[in-house]
Symmetry: C2
Subunit: 75 residues, 2 copies
C-alpha cells in the first residue's frame, strides 16, 4: 500500500488561536520570539488507492472552507 502524508494548515487569513497562544508563550518561557506560528494537522496513512486522497481530504480530513491541505505520496 502506498504511504501518504497529508499536511493540513489553517488558510492564510484565518485566525489561528493555537498559533497565537504559542507565539505569546515562547517569550514567557524564556525563548527567543517566533513569528507566523501556525498549528495544523498531520495525517499519515497507508492507502489502497492514492488517487482517492484528494476526495478523502475534502470529505473527511480537512475543512476546505478554512483549511488548505498538501498531499505527499511516497514513491
Amino acid at each position: 500500500m502506498p504511504h501518504a502524508r497529508i499536511l493540513i494548515r489553517p488558510k492564510a487569513g484565518i485566525l489561528d488561536p493555537q498559533g497565537v497562544a504559542v507565539e505569546q508563550a515562547l517569550p514567557q518561557l524564556g525563548f527567543q520570539p517566533a513569528e507566523n506560528v501556525r498549528i495544523g494537522r498531520l495525517v499519515e496513512l497507508d492507502v489502497a488507492d492514492a488517487t482517492e486522497l484528494e476526495a478523502i481530504c475534502d470529505k473527511l480530513l480537512a475543512n476546505p472552507l478554512i483549511e488548505d491541505y498538501e498531499i505527499q505520496v511516497d514513491a
Copy 2:
C-alpha cells in the same frame, strides 16, 4: 528568521483514537480501506534561533511521553 516545520506524531504503540475513527469512516464513505492511520500535529513558524526548537518542542509543543517530533528547518 529561519522557517521551521515540526511534525508531531503519536509514538508507536500509543493508541490513536482519531486515526482509528478515520480508518473506520473511510469504507463507510465509499473509499478504499486505509491502514496505519495516525493523526498528529503540524507546527510551522519563523524562529529567531532555530537551535531552541528542540527545547521548544519538549517544553511547549509536544508531549514527549506520548509523542515523537521531527524538526525541519528551511535553509
